[in-house]
Every structure is written in structure tokens, then in C-alpha cells.
Subunit: 328 residues, 2 copies
């Protein structure tokens, strides 16, 4: 009699667990619709043992752009915001910056002069704020900035500006034995200061743009010094190149939001087997920002034109997402 | 009564499992001695929960050089052997090579002329055999070579020339939740063709020297083309630089065999906490090769001088290893 009761209870438990796992929505901040369905169908296909599209865990690799895909990127990508804050905080040590472009433009908040300084100006700002220090010093500076700075219009800390639906997607993929990598034009060491805390993505799964570092022994203590020289720009054609170099196998899913991600999606979805490409369309001026074809940074034009033909999912932030940012 | 018997049986099983796991030697090809003891003590320390040197699994990262550390590297590193075999097989398509150095030297097996061609000659040979093809084509060529070529004096296939004691060490570390990376001067894409099969090390955990690759869409199909231009040389000071770039956190153990690994060991063992550095000393002319201070490639001089002072383990292949290569 006791035994029967035990089996009955056990059966009930199994039933409850099964029912709850079937019913729990892994993507609660996504509205039901084609985008959400395409994600869930893809994951179901590649994890179905014995199915025609089954992919073993080791090959379940998904790559995500960061700026505009995992967190916001307007009015500037956040690393540029860091650059400008850093110029302001370093200004007392560089009295000449008051009269010297592009630093003058930053200190006077002169957007026109800043734009006029172009890529050359941006490079100067980047190197003045990112180089000449050790990797450990840089990490600490970025962490301090993230702990104190706030987004100019959204008024949140930057680490509060990851997209809630994307955080759920990362977790959903991990629960299905995917390994998730960031592949971003942003700085690799900049992103690594927060990727684990914010996204649960460890440093060895973060790929980005880099500057040259140099090994040096200072008073018997080895350090890596950040040099004012670009090592690699991880954007557009650079993304498949970096994926091949860092990961050495082709991912089966790619997520982006701009034409800077086009080649990454193209590379990932061109190989045989079940593959998945997704672009986030920023069409939500009310809750975030609306931009696509006509912006200099984060431009999405070719991707919008070709997504349908290539079988890529396009996410409308406005229609597909119940909420954009996590509740505070 | 039945219950008692069940518990007795269960207890016996636990006892058996415990005894067998205590008694099983994780490094059976290592002689008992200081080197083996230092490895086992280090692993015990960092995995002892609650102990002063405990390291969480995510940070249990170990880096291994490849040539001379995981497999043999004499009379030339095997990738150079590949280069020479490849020159011979491409020669019919390049009739001019018969009269053109350094190709002539390879075709005539003229070691003196080959040495005389120096680094410039080596670079020409590398580019002629490694570039101008896609990453997929290169992978196939290397795999075909590994399946057919044999070591000139040891008469084994190259994949039979990994060191048995090191294969056991890799497995022992993995069983203790380490993640093992290769960090080698060898070509990253060359090593990735066999690292998983031979060492159980997946492509994303292989770091090496690289040439530039270029993304290109050929008849609608994207490919990565290998360009005849060095991207990164992963040796000496380059090793800590590459570790920082690819892994983004500092390993806790480093294994090498030459002064090309010096900075890697220095970088790894300089940080605080329990750290481990190990150098393999090739002193076994009978079973493998004997070389250290006086060879151009694989030279171990500064490492031998400073190992003791730095607390690094030096392995004598002759005295510390019961066997060198796996049984056939």
C-alpha cells in the first residue's frame, strides 16, 4: 500500500514538472507572432534528437552583435559616450585640449565640430582615452564609469539598458545547450568588463574590435600595455573573419540589427543545415528609438531589403516586444 | 530484512567506488617523482572546496604550447614538414621552382641552401603553401596530409606522435573541471584540423599564429580566402598578448618546453593565488630527442636557468615519463 502511494506521488511529480515545463513561456517579453515563433521553431528543430535538423551541443553556437542588438546604441554607441566622459575627466591633465580639436569639440559639447573631425578625429579620441594604460587599469576605469554614468536621455545607468527580450533569448538558448558569443564592432576589452554580469557571457565568448597590446615587465611584474594603434576592426566583413579566427567553427545562428551585421548573418546562414538569422528593427520611437536607413551609425538598409529573400527574421521592437528594458 | 540488505549493498557500492577512485592513478605514464607530485598537489589545492587556494571552475584555465609540449617537434616542427611536402606536391604546377630558391632547396632536399634562405625564405615557403586558398580548402589539404605523411625518422604518422603522458595530463585536468587551451606558435588553422581528434581540444580553444583572411562572396557563396600576409605570430611576448585577446582572463596553469613559452609561464605564474608553470626538458635521445640550449628552434635556455627560482616544474622526459608515445 505504501509503495503504491509512493509511485502515485512520484507520477504526480513527473506530470507536474512536465506540464510546467511545457507551459512555461521561455520568452515572456515577446509577443506571440512570427518572430517569436521562428525562434522557437528553430531551437526545437536543432535540439530534436534523431530529427533531420538535429545539431550536437558542441556546434550549437549563436553569435550576437552588441550595440543595438543586446543593448541600446543611440544617440551614440555607449562606448563613444564613455570616450566623451573620459575626455572630460582627463581634461584637467591636458590644458591644451581646450584649444585642440577634436577634444575642444567634446569639452564644449559642439556636435557640429565633432562630426566635422570625422574618422580621424574619432581615432584620436579613441586612442587618447583607450591607450597608454595597462589592460588592468583600463578595466577599472570602464567599471568605474559604468557604476556612475547615466544615459543622457533615457536617464538610466548603461547596464540597465540591455533589452529584456534579448536577455530572455540568451537564457533560452543557453538552456538549450547553445553557447552564445558576442561579435561586435565595440571594443573587446570594453565589453568584457560587463558581459558576464549583464548577459552571462564570459570573457572568452566576447569578440570585438581591438587595439594592439604590448607585453612588458615593469619592476618584475608583467603587464599588458594598450598601444595607440588599431589591431582589428570587427565590423562588416570583419565579423566572419573574427568568428573564424576566434571560434574556428561556423555558428548556426546570428543576431544583429544593422548592415554592419550583414556579412555575419550571410556567413552563418549560407552553410547547409538548419540555420537562423535575425535582425532587430528599431521602429519604436516611443519606448526606445526609431531609425534604420538614414543614420550614419547603426544603419539598416541592405538587411531590410534582403531579409525576406534570405529567410531572415526581422523583429519589430514595437510589435514583437512587450517590453524593451528590464523593470527597475 | 530486505531493506537492511539493500542498504548493505548500497554501502558496499559507495565503498567500492571510493576505493577505486582513490587508487586509480590519473597519470599512469608518469613515474612517481617531484614532477608528477607537483601536478597532483596543484590540482588538489585549486579544487579543494573551502581550501585557501580553491579556484572556481570557470577560472580553471590551463594553457599548453603544442610543438615539443604536446607532440614532438624534431627534426623540424611538423608544420614545416607539411610545408616541404606541400612544395613537393605543388612543384609540377610551378616548373620555375626547380631553379628558384628557396623552393629549389626543398625539392633537392638541400638543407644548407634552405637554412641560407633564412626567415625570408621560410616566409616565402609558408605563403606559397598556406595562402591563396580558402579556409575550407586548406583544412582539407592538411587533413589529407595528416592521413598519409609519416615522420622521417620515427616512422609514425604525425598524429601518433603526441606524448602519452601529456594526453593523460589533459584528461586529468578536464576531469577536474579545467578548460584546456592550446597557445602555440603553430598555425591556428593548421592545429584546428586535428586538435579535437588528437587532444580533445575543440577549435575555439586553439590559439596560434595566423595569416590574414579575407571575406569574399564567390558566385553567391561566402568564403574566407587565406592571404599571403602574416596576421599574428603567437610566440614569446605574443603568447600573453594572444591569451588576453582570445581568453580575456588569466589562466592558472601554463605548460611549455622552450623559451618561446617563457613569457606565457611568466604571465600566468605572476598573478596571485595558486599558479602552476611547467617546462618539459627534452633529454631523452633514446626514446625521442635530446636538445635544449643550442638549437635554433625549440631552444630552452633561460627557462632552464630560471625555473627553480620561479617555482616552475621541470619535467625530465627520460626520468619522469614511463613511456613517450602511445602504444600502437
Amino acid at each position: 500500500m505504501k509503495k503504491k502511494l509512493l509511485f502515485l506521488l512520484l507520477g504526480l511529480c513527473v506530470l507536474l514538472v512536465t506540464v510546467s515545463s511545457v507551459q512555461a513561456d521561455p520568452l515572456p517579453s515577446w509577443n506571440d507572432g512570427a518572430a517569436k515563433r521562428s525562434i522557437i521553431e528553430f531551437v526545437a528543430k536543432v535540439t530534436k534528437k534523431g530529427g533531420p535538423d538535429f545539431v550536437q551541443s558542441a556546434d550549437r553556437i549563436a553569435v550576437f552583435d552588441n550595440d543595438g542588438t543586446l543593448w541600446a546604441e543611440q544617440p551614440f554607441c555607449f562606448q563613444l559616450q564613455f570616450v566623451m566622459d573620459r575626455v572630460r575627466s582627463l581634461a584637467p591633465q591636458h590644458p591644451d585640449w581646450k584649444e585642440k580639436q577634436p577634444f575642444k569639440a567634446v569639452l564644449e559639447n559642439d556636435q557640429k565640430a565633432l562630426s566635422a573631425s570625422g574618422l580621424q578625429g574619432l581615432d584620436e579620441l579613441l586612442m587618447a582615452t583607450h591607450a597608454g594604460i595597462t589592460t588592468e587599469e583600463f578595466e577599472q576605469i570602464v567599471k568605474n564609469w559604468l557604476a556612475t554614468a547615466r544615459h543622457p536621455t533615457l536617464k538610466r545607468r548603461y547596464l540597465e539598458l540591455a533589452y529584456q527580450p534579448m536577455l530572455e533569448l540568451l537564457e533560452y538558448l543557453r538552456q538549450n545547450d547553445f553557447r552564445v558569443f558576442i561579435v561586435s564592432g565595440g571594443g573587446i576589452e570594453f565589453m568584457r568588463t560587463f558581459s558576464e554580469k549583464l548577459y552571462g557571457i564570459p570573457p572568452e565568448q566576447v569578440i570585438g574590435s581591438s587595439i594592439v597590446t604590448r607585453y612588458e615587465v615593469r619592476n618584475g611584474r608583467p603587464v599588458l600595455v594598450r598601444e595607440p594603434k588599431l589591431d582589428f576592426f570587427d565590423d562588416k566583413e570583419g565579423k566572419p573573419v573574427a568568428i573564424n579566427k576566434f571560434i574556428g567553427r561556423r555558428p548556426i545562428a546570428a543576431f544583429g540589427n544593422s548592415d554592419g551585421d550583414f556579412q555575419m548573418l550571410e556567413w552563418v546562414t549560407a552553410s547547409s543545415g538548419a540555420r537562423f538569422g535575425l535582425l532587430i528593427h528599431h521602429d519604436d520611437a516611443g519606448r526606445e528609438f526609431a531609425y534604420d536607413r538614414d543614420v550614419p551609425a547603426g544603419k539598416l538598409d541592405r538587411g531590410l531589403n534582403e531579409a525576406k529573400m534570405r529567410g531572415w527574421t526581422v523583429v519589430s521592437m514595437k510589435n514583437d516586444w512587450k517590453k524593451v528594458f528590464p523593470s527597475k
